[in-house]
Each structure stands twice: as C-alpha cells, then as structure tokens.
C-alpha cells in the first residue's frame, strides 16, 4: 500500500481561500479488504478529507447512482472530489469501475486513482487509449 502522503504531496488543494470554510474534499474510497479500508479511511481523515468508504465497485456505482438506467439523475449534487479504488477486487475490478465512471457525464471529470501492489501499468495503458477514444468520438 502507499506510504502516508501528506496533502501537499498528493497535490490536492485544501486551500481555504478556494473552499467554503466548512467544506472538506470528499473522497470516495473503494476496497474489498477491510484492513485497507480502515487504513485508507484514517489516512484520508488525517489529511482533512471527508471520506466515504465502500467495499466493492458495485457499491461504489450504487453510491454514485450509476448502477441502473437512471444515469445519475439527481446525483449531480453529490460532491466528490476524488475517487480512490483498489485494482483487483472480486466481481468488478477497479479498472472496470474507472471505465464506468468515465462513461458518466456527471462523474467523468472526477480524478480516479487506482491502487495496486501488482504491476498494472500495461493494463492502465489500455485505459489511456480508451479515454482518448471516448474524448474524440463523443
């Protein structure tokens, strides 16, 4: 798992000049491991973020309203600044979750971080091509 990174290193701005005084960055974290969920929740809280943690990609899609035909109707007010997901999870992988998020007009702009202990760069390269396709053919 990643080392503890302070907000400056993550390059996420918690600059109070640009946020309302009580508004924290909201991170959605997705991981099937209870140990990792506990770790990441604490890490993000310590970094002054609001955290929502779910245990599967399916639950993440439910949370975002991307699991049905309603295409996130009514979810535009859901403020999420960053999505962090494990790569290899039972059922839907983090990569498949990433694709679904990028297909959504409501959520496609949200940065998605994929966490993995494996060498997944070759698979992520496929995503870069996929993303290029989406951006140039819609």
């Amino acid at each position: 798992m990643a080392e503890v990174m302070r907000p400056e290193k993550l390059d996420i701005s918690n600059d109070t000049a640009s946020l309302a005084s009580q508004e924290l960055l909201h991170v959605l974290a997705v991981d099937d491991s209870i140990v990792d969920r506990k770790f990441i929740e604490r890490l993000l809280r310590v970094s002054s973020c609001k955290v929502t943690v779910v245990d599967s990609a399916t639950r993440a899609l439910q949370y975002l309203g991307l699991d049905g035909d309603n295409s996130s109707v009514g979810y535009q007010d859901l403020k999420i600044n960053l999505i962090m997901t494990d790569y290899s999870m039972p059922g839907m992988t983090g990569y498949e979750l990433l694709k679904k998020i990028k297909e959504s007009s409501v959520f496609r702009e949200i940065p998605v971080v994929i966490m993995s202990s494996e060498n997944i760069l070759p698979r992520i390269d496929r995503y870069v091509l996929f993303s290029y396709y989406l951006n140039h053919h819609h």
Partner: protein, 155 residues
C-alpha cells in the same frame, strides 16, 4: 537508578527494533504508527486486530479449498493468498507477506504439497506475529499505566 518507566521504555524500544531487524515488521508498520495520535490512540491495535481476523478467515478458506482431495481449486486458493498478501502488505507483516509470495507460486504451479506446506507456515507465522504484537501493546499499556509516554522509535 533506573525508574520503572525508563526500564519499560527501554524494553519497548529494544523489542520494537528487534521486530524490525528480525523481519517481522517493515516500513508499512511505521506508516501505520504515523496515523495514530491522541485522538486515535488505538488505531494500530484496531487495524492489526482486523488483520489477524482476516488471516483466520482466509487461512480457513485456503484449508477448505485444499481439503477437496482430488478436486482442489488452485485458483480459489490463489485468490485467498492474494488477499492475504495484500492485507499483510498493508500492515507491514513482512514475513507473512513473504510466505504469501511463495504460496502464490505454489498455487500457480498447482503444487499441492507446496501449498499444504505454505499453509502450515503462514498459519504459524501469523500466530507468532500476533503474540509478539500483543507483547508490544502490553508494554505500551504498562508504560502508560506507570505514568510514562510511549517513546518514538526510529528504526
């Protein structure tokens, strides 16, 4: 003359260092400690406790899968090993993680005897770490009860 607190603190420091030097713990455990503070004083103990519960559950899954004589699903075993490798990596359980690497290779090559050996070793190793961390946490409690502060140990 050495106070009780000073003695306990030295014991704690020495024990912590030995756990790293003997390869039971690695840097990730240090990262866990960084996330603990006065507001969350039990964070490490809680994460570690979740890890040991996870070990028990996953090892149980592996044992059941390996018990299907003549019909062992090595993918199933491998999947549990992968999960154990992940969580051991997250808490800094270095030896457990190392065993998982070997274990995964045995699964991938469908080496039944190798898997059974790895399962036994992983079971012994997580229990050994559990006992050692319990001793470490106990030392922390003794220090606090004696009115002292838990020293920061730089590895």
């Amino acid at each position: 003359m050495d106070t009780l607190v000073a003695q306990l603190q030295r014991q704690f420091r020495d024990y912590t260092i030995s756990l790293y030097h003997q390869g039971f713990l690695d840097d990730q455990f240090t990262e866990l400690k960084k996330l603990q503070d006065e507001c969350s004083p039990d964070f490490v103990a809680e994460v570690v406790s979740l890890f040991f519960e996870d070990c028990e559950k996953l090892i149980g899954n592996m044992a059941r899968a390996l018990d299907q004589t003549g019909n062992v699903d090595f993918n199933l075993v491998g999947s549990s090993v992968h999960q154990l490798k992940g969580s051991s990596s997250s808490v800094g359980a270095k030896r457990v993680k190392g065993l998982c690497v070997t274990f995964k290779e045995c699964c991938d090559s469908q080496n039944f005897e190798g898997c059974v050996r790895c399962l036994q070793q992983v079971d012994i190793e997580y229990k050994s770490l559990k006992a050692k961390l319990q001793d470490l946490f106990s030392l922390e409690q003794q220090i606090v009860q004696a009115g002292g502060r838990i020293p920061q140990v730089d590895i």
